[in-house]
C-alpha cells in the first residue's frame, strides 16, 4: 500500500527544491544580464555568529558560475528524485532522513561556494561532508553501503585535518580568517611555507575531488548512494572541490613555482588513466560510472595544470584556453554524469541489480531510458558532436600552445605526451562506455530480471532526456555557453576576456555547424538508401540455436584491456576446468577475474593495520592491576618532580 502522507511530503518538498533551483537560476540570469562590477569585485554579505565571530560570504563571477552548475544539478536531480523516491515510499521506508539531509546537503554546498573566510569555509565544508555522508547512508540496510559511507566520511575527515591545519596556520600568521587578507599576506611567506600550504590544500581538496591516489572512497560512496545523490555528488560535489582549488590556490596563493602546475598535470593524467582503466574492467553499473568520474576529474585537473603552467610562463592565450576547457568540461561532465547516473538508477529500479552480467536487451524494454543513456555515452566519451569533445579539443590546444610557447627544455616533450595519454584515455573510455551501454541495453537479456524489466516512471526518463536536450543546446548555442564561461574568466584573469573569447570561439562556434551537418548528412544518407523492405530473422549462429549465454559478457568484452594492463590493474584470473576423460572434452569451465585495488593495498591497509596495532599496544596499559596503576602514579610524581626542577 502507498503511504499517502509521505507521498504528499515527497512531492511537496521535491517540488520546493525544484522551485528553489528554478528561482535561483532565474535570479542569477537576471544578475548576470544586469552585469556590473560585482562580477569582478564581488558582493559581500555578513552574518554574525556572536562572540566577535562573523561569517562572511561573497558572490562574484566565479561563484556565480559554480552556483549555476549547482542549481542546474539541484533542479535536475530533484526532478529525478521526485520519481525515484517513489520506490522507497512504496517500500514504506521513511523519506525524512533523505529529504532533510538533501536540503541540508544542498545548503551546505551553497555555503562552501559562497564562503569568503576560512572559518566559514571549514564550517560549511564539514557540513557538506556530513550531510552527504548521511545521504550515502540512506540505504543502510545493506552492510556494504554502511562500509562505503564509513570509508567516505573517514577519508574526507582525514583530508580535512590538513585543511584545518592550513586554515589555522594562516589564521595564526595573519590574525584573520578572511581570504583577502591571506592573499595579501602570501607574498611575505617563505617558499617552504608556501609549498607546505599548497600541498595541504592539494591533498585536502584532491581527496574530495577524487584525485588518484586519494580516490578510493569515491567508487564506494558514489555507488552506494541513491542515484539522485550519486548524480549530485559526481556532478556537483567534486566540482565544488575543484572550485576551491581555484578560489584558494589560484586566487589566494597567487602564482607559485612551476612544479605546482606539473603536479596538477601529472596527478590529473594519472587520475584519468587509473580511473578509466579501473572503470573499463568494472562490471558494476554504478561503480563504473564512479570510476569514470575520477577520470573526468583527472582531465579537469590537467586543464588546471595547463592553466598554472601557462601563468608561470605568462602565456595568456594558453591560460585562457585551459580555463575555457576547464569550465566547459565542468558543465558538460555535470550534465552527462548526472544523466548516466539517472539511467543507471532507472535500470537498478527496474531490475534490482547493479551487475552488468545480469542485464541485457534493455533497450527494447526501456527505450526512452536507453535513448537518454545513448546521448550520455556519446557525451561522456568526448566524441563530437556533443560537448565533451569540444572541451577536450580546447584542452589539447592549450597544451599545444604551452609547448610551442616554451623556448626549450624537456617540457616540450612531456606536455605533448600528456596529450597522448589523453588520447589513450579517450580510447579506453569509449571501450568502457560501449561496454556499459552495449551490455546493459543491447543484445539478449542475460537473466530473468532483465527480461521482466519495465520502463521507469515517466519523470525518470524525461529528466535524462531534458538533460540531453540541455547538453545539445549548450553545443547548438556555443556563444551562450561561452558567455557563461566569461563570468569566472573575468575574475581569474586581469583585463577583459570577451574579445579573446570571440576570437577563440571559432572551433567552439563550429560545434553547432558540426552538429547540424552531421544530422543533415545522416538524414540524407538515410533518405537516399531506400530501405524498401526488411525481414526480421534469427541471428546467424552457424546453425546452432542461439542462447543468451553465447553473447560476450561484460568481463569478456574488455578482457583484452585487462590482459594488456595486467601490471597496472594487478588483475588475476583463475580458470577452473572440469574435464571429461580427455582434456579436449570439457564439462564445465569457471572463469573468475579479480582486480586488486592496488592503492588500497599499497597505502591504506598498512596504515590502518599499523594504527590498530598501536592502539592494541596502548590498551595493554590498562591491565586491571591496581598495583600497576599506583606504579603509574608514583612514576608520574617522580618524573614531574625531576623535570619540574
Amino acid at each position: 500500500m502507498v503511504n499517502k502522507e509521505s507521498q504528499t511530503v515527497r512531492q511537496f518538498l521535491m517540488g520546493l527544491s525544484i522551485a528553489l533551483a528554478g528561482a535561483g537560476l532565474i535570479l542569477s540570469t537576471i544578475l548576470i544580464s544586469r552585469g556590473g562590477e560585482w562580477v569582478k569585485t564581488g558582493l559581500r554579505f555578513i552574518t554574525e555568529a556572536g562572540a566577535g565571530l562573523s561569517l562572511t560570504w561573497k558572490l562574484d563571477g566565479l561563484t556565480v558560475f559554480f552556483l549555476i552548475v549547482l542549481l542546474l544539478g539541484q533542479g535536475l536531480s530533484s526532478l529525478y528524485a521526485l520519481g525515484y523516491l517513489k520506490e522507497y515510499q512504496e517500500k514504506n521506508k521513511s523519506l525524512w532522513p533523505f529529504l532533510v539531509n538533501w536540503f541540508l546537503f544542498l545548503g551546505s554546498m551553497f555555503g562552501v561556494l559562497l564562503a569568503d573566510d576560512g572559518f566559514t569555509f571549514l564550517l560549511t565544508w564539514e557540513m557538506m561532508s556530513l550531510f552527504s555522508f548521511f545521504l550515502v547512508l540512506y540505504e543502510h540496510e545493506d552492510p556494504a553501503n554502511r562500509k562505503s559511507a564509513y570509508i567516505y566520511f573517514v577519508m574526507t575527515h582525514v583530508a580535512t585535518v590538513l585543511l584545518t591545519t592550513v586554515t589555522l596556520y594562516l589564521y595564526a600568521l595573519t590574525g584573520s580568517f578572511s581570504f583577502e587578507i591571506w592573499a595579501g599576506a602570501v607574498p611575505s611567506l617563505s617558499t617552504v611555507q608556501l609549498n607546505f600550504i599548497f600541498l595541504a590544500f592539494f591533498i585536502g581538496f584532491g581527496t574530495k575531488a577524487g584525485f588518484v591516489p586519494f580516490h578510493i572512497w569515491l567508487p564506494y560512496a558514489h555507488s552506494a548512494a541513491p542515484s539522485p545523490v550519486s548524480a549530485l555528488m559526481s556532478g556537483v560535489m567534486v566540482k565544488v572541490a575543484l572550485y576551491l582549488f581555484i578560489r584558494l590556490v589560484w586566487l589566494t596563493m597567487g602564482p607559485g613555482p612551476v612544479w605546482w602546475g606539473w603536479l596538477f598535470l601529472i596527478i590529473g593524467a594519472l587520475s584519468a588513466l587509473v580511473g578509466i582503466l579501473s572503470a573499463s574492467v568494472q562490471s558494476d553499473l554504478k561503480k563504473l560510472l564512479a570510476f569514470s568520474t575520477i577520470e573526468n576529474v583527472g582531465i579537469l585537473s590537467m586543464a588546471l595544470g595547463s592553466a598554472f603552467l601557462a601563468r608561470t610562463w605568462n602565456n595568456v592565450w594558453a591560460m585562457d584556453l585551459a580555463f575555457v576547457a576547464f569550465f566547459w568540461h565542468t558543465i558538460q561532465h555535470m550534465l552527462f554524469k548526472s544523466l548516466l547516473f539517472m539511467g543507471a538508477g532507472n535500470i537498478i529500479q527496474a531490475t534490482h541489480t547493479r551487475n552488468l552480467e545480469r542485464l541485457g536487451g534493455l533497450l527494447k524494454r526501456m527505450p526512452k531510458t536507453g535513448l537518454g543513456a545513448l546521448i550520455g555515452i556519446i557525451g561522456i566519451t568526448a566524441l563530437p558532436p556533443l560537448g565533451g569533445f569540444w572541451g577536450e579539443l580546447t584542452l589539447f590546444q592549450s597544451l599545444l600552445m604551452n609547448t610551442s610557447h616554451l623556448a626549450n627544455g624537456w617540457s616540450k616533450v612531456f606536455l605533448p605526451l600528456s596529450i597522448g595519454i589523453l588520447a589513450l584515455v579517450g580510447g579506453l573510455s569509449m571501450a568502457t562506455f560501449v561496454k556499459w551501454f552495449g551490455i546493459a541495453f543491447l543484445g539478449q537479456a542475460r537473466s530473468p530480471v532483465a527480461e521482466k524489466a519495465e520502463e521507469a516512471h515517466p519523470i525518470q526518463y524525461i529528466t535524462p532526456l531534458i538533460i540531453g536536450g540541455i547538453a545539445i543546446l549548450s553545443v547548438l548555442l556555443p556563444t551562450a555557453t561561452l558567455a557563461l564561461i566569461d563570468l569566472p574568466l573575468s575574475v581569474l584573469r586581469p583585463g577583459n576576456s570577451a574579445m579573446m573569447l570571440s576570437a577563440l570561439g571559432t572551433p567552439l562556434n563550429l560545434s553547432s555547424i558540426y552538429l547540424i551537418l552531421l544530422i543533415l548528412l545522416t538524414a540524407i544518407v538515410f533518405l537516399l538508401t531506400k530501405r524498401s523492405f526488411h525481414r526480421v530473422t534469427a541471428t546467424w549462429n552457424c546453425g546452432q540455436p542461439l542462447t543468451s549465454s553465447m553473447q560476450y559478457t561484460a568481463g569478456g568484452l574488455t578482457n583484452p584491456i585487462r590482459v594488456l594492463f595486467t601490471k597496472v590493474l594487478g588483475s588475476r584470473r583463475n580458470v577452473k576446468g572440469d574435464f571429461a576423460e580427455t582434456r579436449y572434452s570439457l564439462r564445465s569451465l569457471t572463469y573468475e577475474g579479480k582486480i586488486k585495488e592496488v592503492f588500497e593495498d599499497i597505502f591504506y591497509r598498512p596504515t590502518i593495520r599499523g594504527l590498530l596495532w598501536m592502539s592494541s599496544q596502548i590498551r595493554k596499559l590498562q591491565a586491571g592491576s591496581i598495583h600497576l596503576y599506583l606504579g603509574y602514579l608514583l612514576v608520574t610524581v617522580v618524573v614531574v618532580l625531576i623535570l619540574g626542577r
Binding site: R619, Q622, G624, I626, H627, V638
Partner: protein
C-alpha cells in the same frame, strides 16, 4: 600494623608537644583528637575487618624484599634531592621534611607491593602521617579549619574503605586485591 599505631602516637605526641611549646590551644586539642582517632578508632576498626577476613598475609608481595629496599633507598634520595633547595628552612627541619616526604613515598611503595587490601589502607595512613609530619616541619600546623577538614576526611575515608572491604569480603571472601583484575582495556 602495631608499628604503625606506635608511629601515629609518636606523630600526634609531637604535635601536642609543639602545641605546648608555643602554647597554642587548638593545636593541642587537635593533637589529642588525632591521637584518639588514629591510635584508637582506626586500629580497632581495621582489626575487626581483619578478624572477619581469614586471610593470612605473609609474603603476598610483588617485589622481593631486596628490590623494594633498593627502591626505598632511591626514593629517599629523591626526597632529599627535592627538599635540598628549600633554603628558607633551617637544616634540621629540612631533613625532617625529607624524612616526611620519604615516608609518603614508602607508603606508596608499600601499597604497590602488597596484595592485601588492609595493607593498602595502612599505606594510605602511612602517607597521611607523612603529610602531617611534613606539615609539622614546614609550618607548625596548618590553619585549624583545614587541619580539621583533612583529619575528618581521612577518618571518613578509612570508614568508607572499611565498608568497601566488608563488601569485598562478601563478594570475594578474601581481602586479596589481586583478585580484582576484571576491568581492563
Amino acid at each position: 600494623m602495631s608499628w604503625w599505631t606506635l608511629q601515629t602516637v609518636f606523630v600526634s605526641l609531637l604535635l601536642i608537644a609543639e602545641g605546648f611549646h608555643n602554647n597554642a590551644l587548638e593545636v593541642i586539642i587537635f593533637g589529642v583528637l588525632l591521637l584518639i582517632a588514629k591510635a584508637g578508632i582506626i586500629p580497632i576498626l581495621l582489626r575487626r575487618v581483619l578478624k572477619e577476613s581469614n586471610t593470612e598475609w605473609v609474603g603476598e608481595i610483588y617485589l622481593k624484599r631486596a628490590m623494594s629496599l633498593i627502591f626505598a633507598g632511591g626514593l629517599s634520595l629523591m626526597a632529599y634531592e627535592v627538599t635540598q633547595p628549600l633554603m628558607a628552612l633551617h637544616s634540621g627541619y629540612r631533613n625532617g621534611l625529607a624524612v616526611a616526604i620519604a615516608l609518603i613515598f614508602y607508603g606508596l611503595l608499600l601499597m604497590m607491593t602488597r596484595k592485601v587490601a588492609i595493607v593498602q589502607v595502612l599505606g594510605i595512613l602511612l602517607i597521611d602521617n607523612g603529610i602531617f609530619l611534613a606539615g609539622f616541619f614546614l609550618t607548625q600546623g596548618m590553619p585549624l579549619l583545614v587541619e580539621l577538614g583533612a583529619a575528618f576526611d581521612i577518618l571518613v575515608g578509612i570508614v568508607i574503605i572499611g565498608i568497601l572491604s566488608k563488601q569485598m569480603l562478601e563478594n570475594y571472601d578474601s581481602l586479596n586485591v589481586d583478585h580484582m583484575r576484571s576491568l581492563k582495556g
